[in-house]
Subunit: 341 residues, 2 copies
């Protein structure tokens, strides 16, 4: 059976109502709505059909109906229309994001907070992946008489540091000198290239072999790991405001996911460079999120570097609003990160 216009209309009304109230929707409620010219009995018949078609679920016989994941899918695919963000909201984003010079990391954190504030859901943002990652400089900073902090700066602004052992009583000047030497040797090389040229680089370094050895060793270790990009989470407690999470058990499950970056990152990664993705309830791979929806969007830093952000809410989230907020925030962020401030 194809869905005729009236069924569409009724389904949309049910979803809209349920998004607002989180309470199963009865036929009378729909019937009373402005623009619906049918009695509860008629609505009931249609609802019965919609249930058979898999768009509605009934918690128990004498309750109203709630939309199924299939219904939300139809809803986002066909029923909602792009909506302009209200002037107040655009202003709000601009206010929150309009700070002059600031660290990229901080801009991103601020974006996450703004997103969660405005939607009252939970937000995720990952910094843009810079395309080619190579070493910019190496620094050795004395920490104690026989150890130093090794800091490696890559062109992504990403920094990797670790403590290494240095010969007892080494002069600070010498450490500095060695840093410079290493920087000259390694600058501009990708992490890959360094590994390949390890032997050669090592040969070129004449004095302080032992120190160099431990630096290169540390570097080698550092390069080996392919750390997942950091995911910034905003408003993780927001979901606890919704009746869906009045059960502590559920709340804990949800929050556990937010705590593990390893689970979070693939969620956003999967979205790739799609401008928008919407995953509803069970469409998410994580069972913990089977009662949530995740909407992702992208933003840009310069021409090549793309970052991803997302909003997680209950399946009955306000899709329309979230999409417009993400859309606008994407533009604001791209502006902020791609031009001066």
């Amino acid at each position: 059976m194809r869905l005729d216009e009236r069924k569409f209309m009724i389904l949309k009304a049910i979803i809209d109502d349920y998004i607002q109230t989180a309470v199963p929707v009865g036929s009378r409620t729909i019937s009373r709505k402005a623009g619906v010219g049918f009695s509860p009995a008629t609505i009931r018949n249609e609802m019965s059909d919609l249930e058979e078609l898999g768009y509605l679920d009934q918690p128990h016989t004498s309750a109203g109906r709630i939309p199924s994941a299939k219904a939300y899918r139809l809803y986002v695919d066909e029923l909602i229309k792009a909506q302009q963000l209200s002037p107040e909201d655009t202003l709000r984003i601009h206010e929150h994001m309009d700070t002059r010079t600031e660290q990229v990391e901080q801009v991103i954190r601020r974006a996450a907070n703004t997103l969660s504030d405005m939607t009252q859901y939970t937000s995720l943002v990952v910094a843009p992946q810079l395309t080619s990652m190579c070493i910019n400089s190496v620094h050795l900073v004395p920490v104690s008489s026989n150890s130093a902090l090794m800091i490696v700066v890559t062109n992504a602004g990403l920094v990797k540091d670790s403590v290494i052992r240095v010969p007892e009583g080494i002069e600070n000047d010498l450490l500095y000198h060695i840093s410079q030497l290493l920087t000259v040797q390694l600058h501009g090389l990708t992490l890959m290239q360094i590994r390949q040229q390890f032997a050669k680089i090592f040969k070129d370094l004449k004095e302080n072999r032992k120190l160099f050895a431990s630096v290169l060793d540390a570097l080698e270790n550092r390069l080996a790991e392919d750390e997942p990009h950091d995911v910034v989470v905003g408003g993780s407690v927001n979901l606890l405001h919704y009746p869906e999470y009045s059960d502590v058990e559920k709340a804990r499950n949800f929050l556990s996911v937010l705590e593990s970056k390893e689970k979070l990152y693939p969620l956003l990664k999967k979205a790739g460079s799609m401008e928008f993705t919407i995953r509803i309830g069970p469409e998410n791979d994580l069972p913990e999120l089977s009662e949530c929806s995740l909407i992702t969007a992208t933003y840009h830093m310069g021409e090549h570097n793309t970052g991803t952000m997302g909003i997680i809410g209950p399946t009955r989230m306000n899709y329309t609003r979230v999409i417009s907020v993400l859309d606008f925030m994407g533009k604001a962020l791209s502006d902020l990160l791609s031009t001066d401030r």
Copy 2:
């Protein structure tokens, strides 16, 4: 009335039991304990005294007693004895923390996770504050045709970055050259000194004034902010396992605090360089934490740099265990960060 030995003993037994069960403790329960040679009636009389003295509370007439904040204070001050961590636990810490070269940031995150895993409470760790903070190098990395990422590395390994505008179509080589120039000019200066010598530095730079101006401008802005050190939180959902937080409202309040670094940082900051601090329930400044206890401890990186870590749990937390875990972790972390790996 002074507390005699028997009252001490009974109070300790009550606290120990309540820490385990979270259920108001009755006189029979205490009486049955090995080593207590008194009937429930006797215990009841003592309990009644202890209540009058403010050490015990009674939720309602026919419930058992629960320890008050005053009781916990006495408990940690006088009743608990330092305890050796079990061999299994020390092994566990070593296993978790025994990774070779790793970023300081990662070591700290790992420490936070280990702490929360082992105690089943929530952990906080801040990276060591390096004592003298000065600039190590400045880098400009092209992002788009008219903007670049400015990266400032300080000797703390801390990195501050921000996007700045650069003249349209500037050569990468030139950007690099300018970075070098700036690094030479600024290297070794504290943030303060730079601000003082702003004019002089600016005068020395001959070409590309406009670019320098915007770099220095960005730097100025960057230096102005005194960002709170980052607090790493581990096991934030752990507290939701305890009956104290079976109420979603309470859970939300608690988690909100963890979300705001601005509230968290002062908590640890206040501990200063004290080896241990214990704050019980209302002794915490934050009303949201009035039913929690916070134990902090310090660790060291090299000779001068001290970091702080803490455990937040319900007031009925297992103080003895938490203190031994923190103590051991402090040593492990200091070892890890101060010598090579």
